[in-house]
């Protein structure tokens, strides 16, 4: 089996059952040891996790992390909860539902006890953002947490300004796409938003000094629906996109709020059969045994999955081109896992953002399960 020749291996850390129906999406809380998942069963499930002290990285017999189900939010959404997003503060969670609404959830005020992962406090709906005409498919907080973006089958992308006391104000409705908008993703540093659509394109937006949002550029190249987006985590110089056409494309994004924005496709990764539903990009962990060629620097790990049920981990590296400000990107597949959820589709894959756990990711599948995995460089 080809996967054995690859330099890294993927191991199951935990399996979280409980959803009554297809699980669509997972989200790691950026600050607290909480994992949330959402499902067609209209609920959000919260898990608390902690390092399994008994285990060192070497011994994989006992799992790295221990998970425990803390609570299930019925949400009250009348239809599927399609996507969830934590605010950077980790205090609020946004839910995007097929009932066309965005729910904003926070915990009652007794949550400052870290570690406890806010097990105790009840999660309550602080406000409900109405405005989309049809199913909401994705939601995302900007780096600063001051902005929230949502998208829908109604072809629009909405940008909301976050005020204190879960008060939201719509800053703009962007009607650039000609079909459903499947995914929105914020730039890791600047207030730049990317959206992916059923119309096969990706659009980038930013706002002018008078806070009017506009579409800065359109990235075309995919042959079918673009399902998912991921920014290169540290500088956001690159954007990755996964599509129904079975490819992942890497785009170099230049310019920004200051100068005119451009995006060019510099690479297409192939390795999946059929739709790619989800990708995620983390700083990853260095491969100690590998001697970096001079100037080469790792841009981290890109994880992808989709309808073929396969998970692929790619390492993306960058090497400056001598005598130019540009640099060359290269990628290698470092690990692959087939049938990550048995015969079922995998809908979502997300790296753990918390320090020390960059090599841990979670997946959500049509079997209603959430699985936690870790990537390890092979010793020999």
């Amino acid at each position: 089996m080809a996967n054995n020749d690859l330099p890294a291996k993927i191991e199951l850390v935990a399996e979280l059952e409980g959803h009554d129906d297809r699980a669509w999406h997972v989200a790691w809380n950026p600050h607290r040891p909480i994992l949330a998942s959402c499902s067609a069963d209209k609920t959000v499930r919260m898990y608390h996790y902690q390092l399994n002290t008994s285990s060192s990285d070497a011994d994989s017999s006992s799992p790295l992390l221990k998970f425990s189900h803390t609570t299930t939010i019925p949400t009250g959404h009348t239809k599927t909860v399609r996507a969830i997003a934590w605010s950077p503060s980790g205090k609020t969670l946004a839910t995007a539902s097929f009932d066309a609404n965005i729910g904003i959830w926070a915990q009652e005020e007794d949550e400052e006890d870290e570690g406890a992962g806010g097990g105790s406090g009840e999660w309550e709906c602080m406000s409900l953002l109405e405005g989309h005409e049809t199913e909401c498919k994705s939601v995302a907080y900007s780096r600063s947490g001051s902005l929230l973006a949502s998208c829908s089958r109604d072809k629009t992308v909405w940008i909301w300004e976050v005020h204190p006391d879960s008060d939201f104000e719509c800053m703009g409705v962007l009607m650039e796409h000609t079909q459903d908008v499947k995914c929105v993703a914020w730039h890791p540093k600047e207030e730049i938003l990317a959206s992916a659509s059923y119309d096969d394109t990706i659009k980038l937006y930013s706002d002018d000094p008078s806070d009017d949002w506009f579409c800065a550029t359109t990235l075309s190249g995919h042959d079918s629906t673009v399902w998912t987006l991921a920014w290169e985590p540290t500088n956001g110089k690159y954007l990755a996109s996964g599509s129904d056409d079975g490819t992942i494309r890497l785009w170099r994004i230049t310019g920004g709020q200051m100068s005119e924005m451009k995006g060019e496709c510099i690479m297409a990764l192939e390795g999946h059969q059929g739709s790619i539903y989800s990708i995620s990009w983390s700083p990853g962990k260095k491969d100690e045994k590998r001697i970096a060629e001079d100037g080469e620097s790792s841009l981290g790990w890109l994880a992808s999955t989709g309808g073929d049920g396969t998970v692929v981990i790619w390492e993306i590296t960058e090497r400056p081109i001598a005598g130019s400000d540009r640099s060359k990107l290269s990628s290698r597949k470092i690990a692959q896992l087939d049938a990550a959820h048995g015969v079922f589709d995998v809908n979502s894959i997300v790296w753990c953002p918390r320090p020390g756990l960059e090599h841990v990711f979670a997946t959500a599948g049509d079997d209603g399960h959430v699985r936690i995995w870790k990537v390890e460089w092979k010793n020999t």
């Binding site: 297809r22 067609a40 239809k79 599927t80 399609r82 097929f98 049809t134 199913e135 498919k137 089958r153 459903d180 499947k182 059923y198 079918s224 629906t225 129904d244 739709s275 309808g307 049920g309 049938a339 048995g342 015969v343 079922f344 589709d345 049509d366 079997d367």
Partner: protein, 183 residues
């Protein structure tokens, strides 16, 4: 459903009798099945652990009797919208556990606005009736519909299908069409 008819007077085809061999032919032994055994209702070869693979015909059985949204009294088979030969397996993964099936259907007219719905009803019937390891692609017969590409794309977008099934009005009509189809 829209009121204007896309094809008020479609052609009807004589259903191809599903090849269900008479009881006595099934036992390919020398001996004719005994009346007793017909009498005692079902009699399964308990012992035989031979596996009967799901085949083209079995899948066709599932969808043949779905009724046409525009002509409820008629089945997709009668209108030749679906047919056994239009169901194909991906031979590549014959060994692998999960199987890819492609179900092709033929709208009665190239401008048929019901095609999405028909495709959806086939999709749902199979979603409910085939094991999870079966991955189904639903496509209109090439050249049989003016917006072929859009149709195929929509019918195979799992997110759109999922959302459609949460639309009560649509679901109701769907159940009606499938009801004609309950195996």
């Amino acid at each position: 459903m829209s009121s204007e008819a896309f094809n008020p007077n479609p052609t009807i085809f004589v259903p191809t009798k599903s090849k269900t061999a008479a009881a006595f032919l099934r036992s390919n032994s020398l001996w004719l099945d005994d009346g007793e055994r017909h009498g005692d209702a079902e009699d399964y070869e308990e012992d035989s652990d031979e596996v009967e693979e799901i085949d083209q015909d079995e899948i066709f059985e599932l969808i043949r009797s779905i009724s046409d949204p525009e002509h409820r009294s008629m089945t997709l088979e009668q209108l030749a919208v679906v047919s056994a030969p239009q169901i194909s397996f991906d031979s590549a993964d014959a060994q692998r556990q999960s199987r890819r099936v492609t179900v092709e259907f033929t709208p009665t007219v190239p401008h048929c606005g019901m095609s999405t719905f028909i495709g959806l009803s086939i999709r749902v019937r199979l979603l409910r009736s085939l094991p999870n390891r079966f991955k189904v692609d639903i496509r209109v017969k090439p050249g049989s519909h003016q917006s072929e590409h859009a149709l195929n794309k929509q019918l195979n977008d799992k997110e759109r299908v999922a959302a459609a099934l949460e639309n009560p009005a649509l679901l109701e009509v769907l159940e009606q069409c499938l009801a004609g189809a309950t195996p």
